[in-house]
Protein backbone atom coordinates (compact mmCIF):
# COMPACT_ATOMS: atom_id res chain seq x y z
CA UNK A 1 0.00 0.00 0.00
CA UNK A 2 1.16 3.44 -0.88
CA UNK A 3 0.70 6.74 0.87
CA UNK A 4 0.59 10.08 -0.90
CA UNK A 5 1.68 13.33 0.65
CA UNK A 6 2.04 16.82 -0.68
CA UNK A 7 3.98 19.58 1.01
CA UNK A 8 3.34 23.29 0.33
CA UNK A 9 2.08 22.53 -3.15
CA UNK A 10 1.75 25.69 -5.20
CA UNK A 11 0.52 25.81 -8.78
CA UNK A 12 0.32 28.85 -11.00
CA UNK A 13 -1.64 28.69 -14.26
CA UNK A 14 -1.08 31.57 -16.67
CA UNK A 15 0.53 33.57 -13.90
CA UNK A 16 -2.41 33.14 -11.54
CA UNK A 17 -1.87 31.14 -8.41
CA UNK A 18 -4.50 28.39 -8.36
CA UNK A 19 -3.11 26.41 -5.45
CA UNK A 20 -1.17 28.03 -2.63
CA UNK A 21 0.87 26.03 -0.21
CA UNK A 22 -1.43 23.01 0.01
CA UNK A 23 -0.45 20.19 2.35
CA UNK A 24 -2.14 16.88 1.76
CA UNK A 25 -1.96 13.50 3.45
CA UNK A 26 -3.59 10.46 1.96
CA UNK A 27 -2.92 7.46 4.15
CA UNK A 28 -1.98 4.21 2.44
CA UNK A 29 -5.03 2.21 1.44
CA UNK A 30 -7.39 4.99 2.44
CA UNK A 31 -9.90 7.08 0.57
CA UNK A 32 -9.34 10.81 0.63
CA UNK A 33 -12.16 12.97 -0.69
CA UNK A 34 -11.29 16.44 -1.87
CA UNK A 35 -14.27 18.76 -1.57
CA UNK A 36 -14.71 22.47 -2.07
CA UNK A 37 -16.72 25.10 -3.92
CA UNK A 38 -16.47 25.56 -7.69
CA UNK A 39 -13.13 27.01 -8.72
CA UNK A 40 -11.44 26.07 -5.47
CA UNK A 41 -8.72 24.23 -7.35
CA UNK A 42 -9.86 20.62 -6.82
CA UNK A 43 -9.14 19.44 -10.35
CA UNK A 44 -5.88 21.36 -10.40
CA UNK A 45 -4.84 19.61 -7.20
CA UNK A 46 -5.51 16.22 -8.75
CA UNK A 47 -3.70 17.10 -11.96
CA UNK A 48 -0.76 18.35 -9.92
CA UNK A 49 -0.66 15.07 -8.00
CA UNK A 50 -0.77 13.18 -11.30
CA UNK A 51 2.27 15.10 -12.50
CA UNK A 52 0.46 16.93 -15.29
CA UNK A 53 1.37 20.44 -14.15
CA UNK A 54 4.56 22.20 -13.18
CA UNK A 55 4.43 22.63 -9.42
CA UNK A 56 6.31 24.26 -6.60
CA UNK A 57 6.55 22.24 -3.46
CA UNK A 58 6.71 18.47 -3.32
CA UNK A 59 4.57 15.47 -4.02
CA UNK A 60 5.75 12.43 -2.14
CA UNK A 61 4.64 8.94 -3.09
CA UNK A 62 5.71 6.53 -0.38
CA UNK A 63 8.26 9.11 0.66
CA UNK A 64 9.76 9.38 -2.82
CA UNK A 65 9.77 12.74 -4.56
CA UNK A 66 7.36 12.18 -7.44
CA UNK A 67 8.73 15.14 -9.40
CA UNK A 68 12.05 13.36 -9.74
CA UNK A 69 10.56 10.11 -11.06
CA UNK A 70 10.77 9.36 -14.78
CA UNK A 71 7.26 9.60 -16.34
CA UNK A 72 6.81 5.90 -16.90
CA UNK A 73 7.77 4.96 -13.35
CA UNK A 74 5.43 7.58 -12.00
CA UNK A 75 2.67 6.22 -14.22
CA UNK A 76 3.12 2.80 -12.66
CA UNK A 77 2.46 4.35 -9.25
CA UNK A 78 -0.34 6.81 -9.99
CA UNK A 79 -3.35 6.33 -12.27
CA UNK A 80 -5.53 9.29 -13.14
CA UNK A 81 -9.06 9.51 -14.52
CA UNK A 82 -10.04 13.03 -15.59
CA UNK A 83 -13.49 14.50 -15.17
CA UNK A 84 -14.27 14.44 -18.89
CA UNK A 85 -12.04 11.82 -20.49
CA UNK A 86 -11.58 11.94 -24.25
CA UNK A 87 -13.06 8.73 -25.61
CA UNK A 88 -12.17 8.13 -29.27
CA UNK A 89 -15.60 7.13 -30.65
CA UNK A 90 -14.55 4.14 -32.74
CA UNK A 91 -11.99 2.69 -30.33
CA UNK A 92 -13.13 -0.58 -28.77
CA UNK A 93 -13.57 -0.98 -25.03
CA UNK A 94 -10.77 -3.54 -24.94
CA UNK A 95 -8.32 -1.37 -26.85
CA UNK A 96 -9.14 1.60 -24.64
CA UNK A 97 -8.57 -0.34 -21.43
CA UNK A 98 -5.40 -1.76 -22.95
CA UNK A 99 -4.00 1.79 -23.10
CA UNK A 100 -3.67 1.50 -19.34
CA UNK A 101 -0.74 -0.82 -19.98
CA UNK A 102 1.23 1.97 -21.66
CA UNK A 103 3.64 2.55 -18.74
CA UNK A 104 4.80 -1.06 -19.09
CA UNK A 105 5.52 -0.91 -22.81
CA UNK A 106 8.66 0.59 -24.29
CA UNK A 107 8.41 3.54 -26.66
CA UNK A 108 8.43 1.54 -29.88
CA UNK A 109 7.18 -1.67 -28.26
CA UNK A 110 3.86 -3.43 -28.43
CA UNK A 111 1.61 -5.01 -25.82
CA UNK A 112 2.66 -8.41 -24.57
CA UNK A 113 0.40 -11.34 -23.96
CA UNK A 114 0.60 -10.49 -20.28
CA UNK A 115 -0.70 -6.97 -20.95
CA UNK A 116 -3.68 -8.42 -22.79
CA UNK A 117 -4.36 -10.87 -20.00
CA UNK A 118 -4.23 -8.16 -17.35
CA UNK A 119 -6.62 -6.05 -19.40
CA UNK A 120 -9.00 -8.95 -19.99
CA UNK A 121 -8.91 -9.70 -16.26
CA UNK A 122 -9.79 -6.10 -15.38
CA UNK A 123 -12.69 -6.07 -17.84
CA UNK A 124 -13.89 -9.29 -16.31
CA UNK A 125 -13.80 -7.83 -12.80
CA UNK A 126 -15.81 -4.81 -13.88
CA UNK A 127 -18.35 -6.94 -15.79
CA UNK A 128 -17.26 -5.32 -19.01
CA UNK A 129 -16.28 -8.51 -20.83
CA UNK A 130 -19.50 -8.61 -22.90
CA UNK A 131 -18.71 -5.09 -24.09
CA UNK A 132 -15.06 -5.71 -24.94
CA UNK A 133 -15.48 -5.33 -28.68
CA UNK A 134 -17.96 -2.46 -28.55
CA UNK A 135 -16.86 0.98 -29.76
CA UNK A 136 -16.73 3.65 -27.06
CA UNK A 137 -19.34 5.76 -28.86
CA UNK A 138 -21.98 3.14 -28.14
CA UNK A 139 -21.77 3.09 -24.33
CA UNK A 140 -24.11 4.51 -21.74
CA UNK A 141 -22.89 7.01 -19.16
CA UNK A 142 -22.46 4.38 -16.47
CA UNK A 143 -20.67 1.98 -18.79
CA UNK A 144 -18.38 4.78 -19.90
CA UNK A 145 -17.38 5.54 -16.33
CA UNK A 146 -16.62 1.88 -15.71
CA UNK A 147 -14.53 1.71 -18.87
CA UNK A 148 -12.47 4.70 -17.76
CA UNK A 149 -12.02 2.98 -14.43
CA UNK A 150 -10.95 -0.19 -16.24
CA UNK A 151 -8.26 1.74 -18.07
CA UNK A 152 -7.00 3.18 -14.80
CA UNK A 153 -7.01 -0.25 -13.13
CA UNK A 154 -5.17 -1.88 -16.02
CA UNK A 155 -2.40 0.52 -15.10
CA UNK A 156 -2.03 -1.51 -11.87
CA UNK A 157 -0.97 1.58 -9.98
CA UNK A 158 -1.42 1.59 -6.20
CA UNK A 159 -2.71 5.17 -6.23
CA UNK A 160 -5.94 6.08 -8.00
CA UNK A 161 -6.80 9.73 -8.68
CA UNK A 162 -10.42 10.22 -9.70
CA UNK A 163 -11.70 13.63 -10.76
CA UNK A 164 -15.45 13.76 -10.16
CA UNK A 165 -16.09 10.10 -11.04
CA UNK A 166 -19.84 10.51 -10.61
CA UNK A 167 -20.67 13.60 -12.64
CA UNK A 168 -23.34 13.01 -15.26
CA UNK A 169 -24.44 9.78 -13.60
CA UNK A 170 -27.86 9.17 -12.14
CA UNK A 171 -28.36 8.24 -8.52
CA UNK A 172 -28.09 4.49 -8.97
CA UNK A 173 -25.01 4.66 -11.16
CA UNK A 174 -23.31 7.09 -8.78
CA UNK A 175 -23.72 4.56 -6.03
CA UNK A 176 -22.63 1.65 -8.22
CA UNK A 177 -19.45 3.36 -9.37
CA UNK A 178 -18.44 4.45 -5.86
CA UNK A 179 -19.21 1.00 -4.42
CA UNK A 180 -17.08 -0.50 -7.14
CA UNK A 181 -14.18 1.84 -6.38
CA UNK A 182 -14.50 1.04 -2.70
CA UNK A 183 -14.53 -2.70 -3.34
CA UNK A 184 -11.48 -2.49 -5.53
CA UNK A 185 -9.73 -0.27 -2.99
CA UNK A 186 -10.25 -2.82 -0.26
CA UNK A 187 -9.40 -5.80 -2.41
CA UNK A 188 -6.22 -4.37 -3.93
CA UNK A 189 -5.20 -2.03 -1.15
CA UNK A 190 -5.45 1.00 -3.41
CA UNK A 191 -5.07 4.52 -2.15
CA UNK A 192 -7.93 6.57 -3.61
CA UNK A 193 -7.96 10.35 -3.90
CA UNK A 194 -11.17 11.62 -5.46
CA UNK A 195 -12.75 14.99 -5.94
CA UNK A 196 -16.47 14.80 -5.27
CA UNK A 197 -18.93 17.63 -5.43
CA UNK A 198 -21.64 15.66 -3.62
CA UNK A 199 -20.74 16.15 0.04
CA UNK A 200 -23.01 13.39 1.27
CA UNK A 201 -21.56 10.79 -1.04
CA UNK A 202 -18.10 11.97 -0.09
CA UNK A 203 -18.94 11.50 3.58
CA UNK A 204 -20.26 8.00 2.96
CA UNK A 205 -17.24 6.65 1.14
CA UNK A 206 -14.19 8.62 2.24
CA UNK A 207 -12.34 7.98 5.45
CA UNK A 208 -10.50 11.27 5.19
CA UNK A 209 -11.57 14.58 3.76
CA UNK A 210 -9.98 17.78 2.67
CA UNK A 211 -11.81 21.04 2.13
CA UNK A 212 -10.17 23.15 -0.53
CA UNK A 213 -11.22 26.78 -0.78
CA UNK A 214 -9.62 29.56 -2.80
CA UNK A 215 -6.63 27.35 -3.58
CA UNK A 216 -5.88 26.69 0.08
CA UNK A 217 -6.54 23.71 2.31
CA UNK A 218 -9.21 25.11 4.61
CA UNK A 219 -9.68 21.98 6.68
CA UNK A 220 -8.77 18.35 6.65
CA UNK A 221 -9.51 15.36 8.81
CA UNK A 222 -12.24 12.81 9.28
CA UNK A 223 -15.52 13.60 7.47
CA UNK A 224 -17.20 14.64 10.73
CA UNK A 225 -14.46 17.17 11.40
CA UNK A 226 -14.62 18.76 7.96
CA UNK A 227 -18.35 18.69 7.29
CA UNK A 228 -19.42 21.15 9.95
CA UNK A 229 -22.15 23.73 9.51
CA UNK A 230 -19.63 26.46 10.25
CA UNK A 231 -17.08 25.40 7.61
CA UNK A 232 -19.68 24.69 4.92
CA UNK A 233 -21.55 27.96 5.33
CA UNK A 234 -18.23 29.80 5.45
CA UNK A 235 -16.72 28.29 2.30
CA UNK A 236 -19.70 27.27 0.18
CA UNK A 237 -21.91 30.22 1.16
CA UNK A 238 -24.76 27.79 1.80
CA UNK A 239 -27.16 27.60 4.69
CA UNK A 240 -27.01 23.99 5.86
CA UNK A 241 -27.77 21.64 8.66
CA UNK A 242 -25.50 18.66 9.30
CA UNK A 243 -26.89 15.52 10.92
CA UNK A 244 -25.63 11.98 11.24
CA UNK A 245 -27.09 9.82 8.48
CA UNK A 246 -28.38 6.25 8.77
CA UNK A 247 -24.85 4.86 8.52
CA UNK A 248 -23.46 7.38 10.99
CA UNK A 249 -21.67 9.51 8.39
CA UNK A 250 -22.44 13.23 8.54
CA UNK A 251 -25.11 14.22 6.02
CA UNK A 252 -25.51 17.76 4.80
CA UNK A 253 -28.97 19.24 4.21
CA UNK A 254 -29.67 22.54 2.59
CA UNK A 255 -31.94 24.75 4.72
CA UNK A 256 -34.26 27.42 3.34
CA UNK A 257 -35.30 30.73 4.76
CA UNK A 258 -32.94 30.96 7.71
CA UNK A 259 -31.60 34.28 6.52
Amino acid sequence: MTEVRARSLTVALDGREVLSGVDLDAPAGGWLAVIGPNGAGKSTLLRALAGLLPVEGRVLIDGEDAGALPPRRRARLVAYAPQTPALPPDMSVFDYALLGRTPYISYFGRESRHDREVTAGVLDRLDLTPLAARPLARLSGGERQRVVLARALAQQAPVLLLDEPTTALDLGHQQQVLELVDRLRRADGLTVIATLHDLNLAAQYADAMMLLSGGRAAASGAPAEVLTEHLISGHFGAEVKVEPGPDGSPQVHLVRGAR
Binding site: A79, P89, D95, L99, R113, R116, A120, A132, A133
Partner: protein
Amino acid sequence: MTTGTLAPPAGGLRTRALWISAAAALLAAALLAGLLVGAAGIGPGEVLLQAADWLPLVSADSGLTPVERNLLWELRLPRVLLAAVVGGLLAVAGAGYQGVFRNPLADPYLLGAAAGAGLTVTVVIVLVGGDAGSAAVPVAAFAGAVGGVLMAYALGATASRTGGGTATLVLAGVAVTSFLTAIQTFVQQLGVEELQRIYAWILGDVGGGWGELRLAAPYAALAAVVMLLHGRMLDVLSVGDDEAVSLGVRAARVRLAVLLAASLATAAAVAVSGLIAFVGIVVPHVVRRLAGGSYRIVLPLSLIGGGAFLVLADAVARTVLAPAELPIGVVTAFVGAPFFVFVLRVTRGTAT
Protein backbone atom coordinates in the same frame (compact mmCIF):
# COMPACT_ATOMS: atom_id res chain seq x y z
CA MET B 1 -5.93 -13.78 -14.09
CA THR B 2 -9.04 -15.39 -15.38
CA THR B 3 -8.47 -17.47 -18.42
CA GLY B 4 -11.12 -18.01 -20.98
CA THR B 5 -12.24 -14.40 -20.80
CA LEU B 6 -12.98 -12.86 -24.11
CA ALA B 7 -9.81 -11.09 -25.06
CA PRO B 8 -9.54 -10.21 -28.72
CA PRO B 9 -5.77 -10.61 -28.61
CA ALA B 10 -4.52 -12.34 -31.70
CA GLY B 11 -7.68 -11.32 -33.55
CA GLY B 12 -6.54 -7.71 -33.83
CA LEU B 13 -3.19 -8.75 -35.21
CA ARG B 14 -4.72 -11.14 -37.69
CA THR B 15 -7.16 -8.63 -39.13
CA ARG B 16 -4.31 -6.13 -39.36
CA ALA B 17 -2.21 -8.58 -41.35
CA LEU B 18 -5.19 -9.33 -43.55
CA TRP B 19 -5.86 -5.68 -44.32
CA ILE B 20 -2.23 -4.98 -45.06
CA SER B 21 -2.00 -7.95 -47.43
CA ALA B 22 -5.14 -6.79 -49.19
CA ALA B 23 -3.76 -3.27 -49.54
CA ALA B 24 -0.45 -4.59 -50.81
CA ALA B 25 -2.26 -6.66 -53.43
CA LEU B 26 -4.19 -3.57 -54.46
CA LEU B 27 -0.97 -1.60 -54.77
CA ALA B 28 0.64 -4.33 -56.87
CA ALA B 29 -2.39 -4.40 -59.16
CA ALA B 30 -2.33 -0.61 -59.41
CA LEU B 31 1.37 -0.60 -60.30
CA LEU B 32 0.78 -3.17 -63.05
CA ALA B 33 -2.19 -1.22 -64.37
CA GLY B 34 -0.07 1.93 -64.36
CA LEU B 35 2.61 0.17 -66.38
CA LEU B 36 0.12 -1.15 -68.91
CA VAL B 37 -1.55 2.15 -69.63
CA GLY B 38 0.13 4.64 -71.89
CA ALA B 39 0.29 6.48 -75.17
CA ALA B 40 2.84 4.25 -76.88
CA GLY B 41 0.47 1.36 -77.59
CA ILE B 42 2.60 -1.48 -76.29
CA GLY B 43 0.57 -4.65 -75.72
CA PRO B 44 -0.21 -5.76 -72.19
CA GLY B 45 1.40 -9.17 -72.71
CA GLU B 46 4.72 -7.63 -73.66
CA VAL B 47 4.62 -5.22 -70.73
CA LEU B 48 3.92 -8.05 -68.30
CA LEU B 49 6.78 -10.13 -69.71
CA GLN B 50 9.08 -7.14 -69.53
CA ALA B 51 8.04 -6.41 -65.96
CA ALA B 52 8.78 -10.00 -65.04
CA ASP B 53 12.16 -9.71 -66.74
CA TRP B 54 13.07 -6.75 -64.48
CA LEU B 55 12.47 -8.82 -61.38
CA PRO B 56 15.64 -10.29 -59.94
CA LEU B 57 16.34 -13.93 -60.81
CA VAL B 58 13.70 -13.89 -63.53
CA SER B 59 14.43 -13.58 -67.19
CA ALA B 60 11.76 -13.36 -69.83
CA ASP B 61 11.84 -12.36 -73.45
CA SER B 62 9.22 -9.69 -74.02
CA GLY B 63 10.01 -9.25 -77.67
CA LEU B 64 10.02 -5.48 -77.29
CA THR B 65 12.26 -3.26 -79.36
CA PRO B 66 15.02 -1.46 -77.45
CA VAL B 67 13.14 1.81 -77.91
CA GLU B 68 9.99 0.38 -76.38
CA ARG B 69 11.94 -1.22 -73.59
CA ASN B 70 13.66 2.06 -72.94
CA LEU B 71 10.35 3.85 -72.86
CA LEU B 72 9.03 1.47 -70.27
CA TRP B 73 12.17 1.65 -68.16
CA GLU B 74 12.89 5.35 -68.40
CA LEU B 75 9.37 6.76 -68.45
CA ARG B 76 6.61 4.47 -67.29
CA LEU B 77 8.31 2.53 -64.52
CA PRO B 78 9.76 5.53 -62.67
CA ARG B 79 6.48 7.32 -63.20
CA VAL B 80 4.32 4.68 -61.52
CA LEU B 81 6.86 4.23 -58.76
CA LEU B 82 7.00 7.98 -58.16
CA ALA B 83 3.23 8.15 -58.05
CA ALA B 84 3.20 5.32 -55.49
CA VAL B 85 5.83 6.99 -53.32
CA VAL B 86 4.21 10.42 -53.47
CA GLY B 87 0.72 9.07 -52.80
CA GLY B 88 1.94 6.99 -49.90
CA LEU B 89 3.86 9.88 -48.37
CA LEU B 90 0.99 12.34 -48.65
CA ALA B 91 -1.54 9.88 -47.22
CA VAL B 92 0.64 8.81 -44.31
CA ALA B 93 1.53 12.43 -43.59
CA GLY B 94 -2.16 13.33 -43.60
CA ALA B 95 -2.91 10.50 -41.19
CA GLY B 96 -0.08 11.69 -38.96
CA TYR B 97 -1.30 15.28 -38.91
CA GLN B 98 -4.82 14.09 -38.14
CA GLY B 99 -3.48 12.11 -35.22
CA VAL B 100 -1.31 14.87 -33.83
CA PHE B 101 -4.02 17.50 -34.06
CA ARG B 102 -6.83 15.09 -33.25
CA ASN B 103 -8.64 16.83 -36.07
CA PRO B 104 -10.15 14.91 -38.98
CA LEU B 105 -9.76 17.90 -41.30
CA ALA B 106 -6.00 18.15 -40.91
CA ASP B 107 -4.10 17.56 -44.14
CA PRO B 108 -0.40 17.50 -45.01
CA TYR B 109 -0.47 21.13 -46.11
CA LEU B 110 -2.03 22.38 -42.88
CA LEU B 111 1.11 23.91 -41.44
CA GLY B 112 2.24 25.93 -44.43
CA ALA B 113 4.16 23.29 -46.37
CA ALA B 114 2.21 23.96 -49.56
CA ALA B 115 2.38 27.73 -49.30
CA GLY B 116 6.08 27.65 -48.50
CA ALA B 117 6.87 25.38 -51.42
CA GLY B 118 4.57 27.38 -53.70
CA LEU B 119 6.43 30.56 -52.87
CA THR B 120 9.95 29.24 -53.34
CA VAL B 121 9.05 27.46 -56.57
CA THR B 122 7.39 30.58 -57.95
CA VAL B 123 10.42 32.63 -57.00
CA VAL B 124 12.76 30.19 -58.73
CA ILE B 125 10.63 29.98 -61.88
CA VAL B 126 10.09 33.73 -62.15
CA LEU B 127 13.44 35.09 -61.01
CA VAL B 128 15.85 32.37 -62.15
CA GLY B 129 13.83 30.93 -64.99
CA GLY B 130 14.97 28.72 -67.83
CA ASP B 131 16.66 25.36 -67.41
CA ALA B 132 18.59 26.40 -64.32
CA GLY B 133 15.26 27.28 -62.76
CA SER B 134 13.72 23.94 -63.65
CA ALA B 135 16.66 22.09 -62.17
CA ALA B 136 16.31 24.02 -58.94
CA VAL B 137 12.57 23.42 -58.54
CA PRO B 138 12.70 20.23 -56.42
CA VAL B 139 15.27 21.66 -54.03
CA ALA B 140 13.38 24.92 -53.79
CA ALA B 141 10.11 23.10 -53.14
CA PHE B 142 11.67 20.97 -50.43
CA ALA B 143 13.26 23.96 -48.72
CA GLY B 144 10.05 25.97 -49.00
CA ALA B 145 7.90 23.21 -47.55
CA VAL B 146 10.23 22.69 -44.60
CA GLY B 147 10.59 26.44 -44.12
CA GLY B 148 6.84 26.99 -44.10
CA VAL B 149 6.30 24.35 -41.43
CA LEU B 150 9.14 25.67 -39.30
CA MET B 151 7.70 29.19 -39.52
CA ALA B 152 4.32 27.95 -38.39
CA TYR B 153 5.92 25.99 -35.59
CA ALA B 154 8.01 28.92 -34.37
CA LEU B 155 5.03 31.24 -34.53
CA GLY B 156 2.82 28.73 -32.71
CA ALA B 157 5.43 28.23 -29.99
CA THR B 158 5.80 31.95 -29.30
CA ALA B 159 2.05 32.56 -29.43
CA SER B 160 1.05 29.91 -26.91
CA ARG B 161 2.52 30.61 -23.50
CA THR B 162 1.84 27.21 -22.07
CA GLY B 163 3.48 25.54 -25.07
CA GLY B 164 2.20 22.71 -27.18
CA GLY B 165 -1.27 24.09 -27.78
CA THR B 166 -2.37 22.37 -30.96
CA ALA B 167 -5.12 24.87 -31.74
CA THR B 168 -2.59 27.68 -31.64
CA LEU B 169 -0.35 25.73 -33.97
CA VAL B 170 -3.15 25.24 -36.48
CA LEU B 171 -3.92 28.96 -36.39
CA ALA B 172 -0.24 29.72 -36.87
CA GLY B 173 -0.32 27.44 -39.91
CA VAL B 174 -3.28 29.37 -41.30
CA ALA B 175 -1.49 32.68 -40.73
CA VAL B 176 1.75 31.48 -42.32
CA THR B 177 -0.16 30.02 -45.27
CA SER B 178 -1.99 33.26 -46.06
CA PHE B 179 1.15 35.32 -45.57
CA LEU B 180 3.29 33.18 -47.85
CA THR B 181 0.49 32.86 -50.41
CA ALA B 182 0.22 36.64 -50.54
CA ILE B 183 3.93 36.95 -51.34
CA GLN B 184 3.64 34.11 -53.85
CA THR B 185 0.79 35.88 -55.65
CA PHE B 186 2.84 39.06 -55.76
CA VAL B 187 5.91 37.35 -57.20
CA GLN B 188 3.68 35.54 -59.68
CA GLN B 189 2.35 38.88 -60.93
CA LEU B 190 5.93 39.96 -61.63
CA GLY B 191 6.28 37.10 -64.07
CA VAL B 192 2.89 36.60 -65.68
CA GLU B 193 4.46 34.98 -68.72
CA GLU B 194 5.53 32.07 -66.47
CA LEU B 195 2.00 31.58 -65.17
CA GLN B 196 1.50 28.33 -67.02
CA ARG B 197 4.64 26.75 -65.63
CA ILE B 198 3.73 27.85 -62.13
CA TYR B 199 0.24 26.45 -62.46
CA ALA B 200 1.47 23.21 -63.95
CA TRP B 201 3.62 22.76 -60.88
CA ILE B 202 0.87 23.73 -58.46
CA LEU B 203 -1.55 21.22 -59.98
CA GLY B 204 0.95 18.46 -59.49
CA ASP B 205 2.85 16.12 -61.76
CA VAL B 206 4.39 12.73 -61.12
CA GLY B 207 6.05 12.58 -64.54
CA GLY B 208 9.55 12.73 -63.10
CA GLY B 209 12.16 10.09 -63.70
CA TRP B 210 14.61 8.05 -61.69
CA GLY B 211 16.33 11.28 -60.61
CA GLU B 212 13.25 12.49 -58.77
CA LEU B 213 12.78 9.07 -57.19
CA ARG B 214 16.36 9.04 -55.95
CA LEU B 215 15.92 12.54 -54.60
CA ALA B 216 12.84 11.68 -52.58
CA ALA B 217 13.79 8.15 -51.51
CA PRO B 218 15.96 8.81 -48.44
CA TYR B 219 13.53 11.31 -46.93
CA ALA B 220 10.58 9.15 -47.86
CA ALA B 221 12.10 6.10 -46.20
CA LEU B 222 13.10 7.95 -43.04
CA ALA B 223 9.76 9.70 -42.67
CA ALA B 224 7.73 6.56 -43.35
CA VAL B 225 9.68 4.48 -40.83
CA VAL B 226 9.39 7.12 -38.10
CA MET B 227 5.67 7.49 -38.73
CA LEU B 228 4.97 3.75 -38.75
CA LEU B 229 6.87 3.34 -35.49
CA HIS B 230 4.63 5.89 -33.81
CA GLY B 231 1.30 4.18 -34.46
CA ARG B 232 0.80 3.03 -30.88
CA MET B 233 1.89 6.38 -29.50
CA LEU B 234 -0.68 8.16 -31.65
CA ASP B 235 -3.32 5.81 -30.27
CA VAL B 236 -2.30 6.86 -26.76
CA LEU B 237 -2.43 10.54 -27.75
CA SER B 238 -5.97 10.04 -29.03
CA VAL B 239 -7.26 9.95 -25.44
CA GLY B 240 -5.96 13.44 -24.82
CA ASP B 241 -2.76 14.99 -23.58
CA ASP B 242 -3.51 14.81 -19.88
CA GLU B 243 -4.19 11.13 -19.95
CA ALA B 244 -1.29 10.39 -22.24
CA VAL B 245 1.04 12.14 -19.80
CA SER B 246 -0.57 10.34 -16.88
CA LEU B 247 0.20 7.10 -18.73
CA GLY B 248 3.87 8.04 -18.74
CA VAL B 249 4.07 9.31 -22.32
CA ARG B 250 5.88 12.55 -23.08
CA ALA B 251 3.06 13.80 -25.27
CA ALA B 252 4.80 16.93 -26.52
CA ARG B 253 7.81 14.92 -27.63
CA VAL B 254 5.71 12.33 -29.47
CA ARG B 255 3.79 15.08 -31.20
CA LEU B 256 6.98 16.82 -32.30
CA ALA B 257 8.47 13.59 -33.64
CA VAL B 258 5.36 12.77 -35.67
CA LEU B 259 5.00 16.35 -36.89
CA LEU B 260 8.60 16.44 -38.06
CA ALA B 261 8.29 13.09 -39.82
CA ALA B 262 4.98 14.04 -41.46
CA SER B 263 6.39 17.38 -42.56
CA LEU B 264 9.45 15.69 -43.99
CA ALA B 265 7.20 13.27 -45.87
CA THR B 266 5.17 16.17 -47.22
CA ALA B 267 8.27 18.11 -48.24
CA ALA B 268 9.72 15.09 -50.02
CA ALA B 269 6.45 14.56 -51.90
CA VAL B 270 6.04 18.22 -52.77
CA ALA B 271 9.62 18.45 -54.00
CA VAL B 272 9.12 15.82 -56.70
CA SER B 273 5.46 16.23 -57.59
CA GLY B 274 4.13 19.68 -56.79
CA LEU B 275 0.93 20.16 -54.86
CA ILE B 276 -1.40 17.21 -55.20
CA ALA B 277 -4.56 17.82 -53.29
CA PHE B 278 -7.00 15.39 -51.72
CA VAL B 279 -4.79 12.32 -51.24
CA GLY B 280 -3.62 13.28 -47.78
CA ILE B 281 -7.03 13.96 -46.36
CA VAL B 282 -9.21 11.37 -48.07
CA VAL B 283 -7.12 8.20 -48.03
CA PRO B 284 -6.70 8.11 -44.23
CA HIS B 285 -10.44 8.59 -43.83
CA VAL B 286 -11.31 5.83 -46.25
CA VAL B 287 -8.89 3.58 -44.39
CA ARG B 288 -10.38 4.54 -41.04
CA ARG B 289 -13.87 3.81 -42.28
CA LEU B 290 -12.92 0.41 -43.59
CA ALA B 291 -10.39 -0.90 -41.10
CA GLY B 292 -10.97 1.01 -37.87
CA GLY B 293 -9.43 4.00 -36.19
CA SER B 294 -6.27 2.60 -34.58
CA TYR B 295 -3.23 4.41 -35.95
CA ARG B 296 -1.39 1.12 -35.99
CA ILE B 297 -3.58 0.14 -38.90
CA VAL B 298 -4.37 3.61 -40.28
CA LEU B 299 -0.72 4.54 -40.85
CA PRO B 300 0.45 1.48 -42.80
CA LEU B 301 -2.79 1.23 -44.76
CA SER B 302 -2.64 4.93 -45.64
CA LEU B 303 0.91 4.50 -46.85
CA ILE B 304 0.04 1.57 -49.12
CA GLY B 305 -3.43 2.74 -50.06
CA GLY B 306 -2.29 6.26 -50.83
CA GLY B 307 0.31 4.83 -53.18
CA ALA B 308 -2.24 2.68 -54.96
CA PHE B 309 -4.70 5.57 -55.20
CA LEU B 310 -2.23 7.96 -56.79
CA VAL B 311 -0.92 5.37 -59.26
CA LEU B 312 -4.48 4.77 -60.43
CA ALA B 313 -5.23 8.50 -60.53
CA ASP B 314 -2.14 9.01 -62.68
CA ALA B 315 -3.19 6.20 -65.00
CA VAL B 316 -6.54 7.95 -65.44
CA ALA B 317 -4.80 11.30 -65.96
CA ARG B 318 -2.76 9.79 -68.78
CA THR B 319 -5.61 8.03 -70.56
CA VAL B 320 -8.80 10.10 -70.56
CA LEU B 321 -7.46 12.79 -72.90
CA ALA B 322 -4.66 10.68 -74.43
CA PRO B 323 -2.26 11.61 -75.85
CA ALA B 324 -2.73 14.79 -73.80
CA GLU B 325 -2.51 14.54 -70.02
CA LEU B 326 -4.78 15.89 -67.33
CA PRO B 327 -3.10 17.42 -64.29
CA ILE B 328 -3.06 14.68 -61.67
CA GLY B 329 -4.38 17.01 -58.98
CA VAL B 330 -7.54 17.44 -61.02
CA VAL B 331 -8.02 13.70 -61.25
CA THR B 332 -7.45 13.03 -57.54
CA ALA B 333 -10.20 15.45 -56.66
CA PHE B 334 -12.49 14.45 -59.53
CA VAL B 335 -12.23 10.73 -58.86
CA GLY B 336 -11.55 10.99 -55.17
CA ALA B 337 -14.48 13.13 -54.10
CA PRO B 338 -17.27 10.85 -55.40
CA PHE B 339 -15.37 7.81 -54.13
CA PHE B 340 -15.12 9.42 -50.72
CA VAL B 341 -18.84 10.12 -50.68
CA PHE B 342 -19.45 6.51 -51.66
CA VAL B 343 -17.31 5.23 -48.78
CA LEU B 344 -19.03 7.60 -46.37
CA ARG B 345 -22.39 6.24 -47.44
CA VAL B 346 -21.64 2.55 -47.28
CA THR B 347 -19.98 2.83 -43.87
CA ARG B 348 -22.62 5.09 -42.37
CA GLY B 349 -22.70 3.08 -39.16
CA THR B 350 -19.15 3.99 -38.20
CA ALA B 351 -18.70 7.09 -36.11
CA THR B 352 -15.77 9.16 -37.25
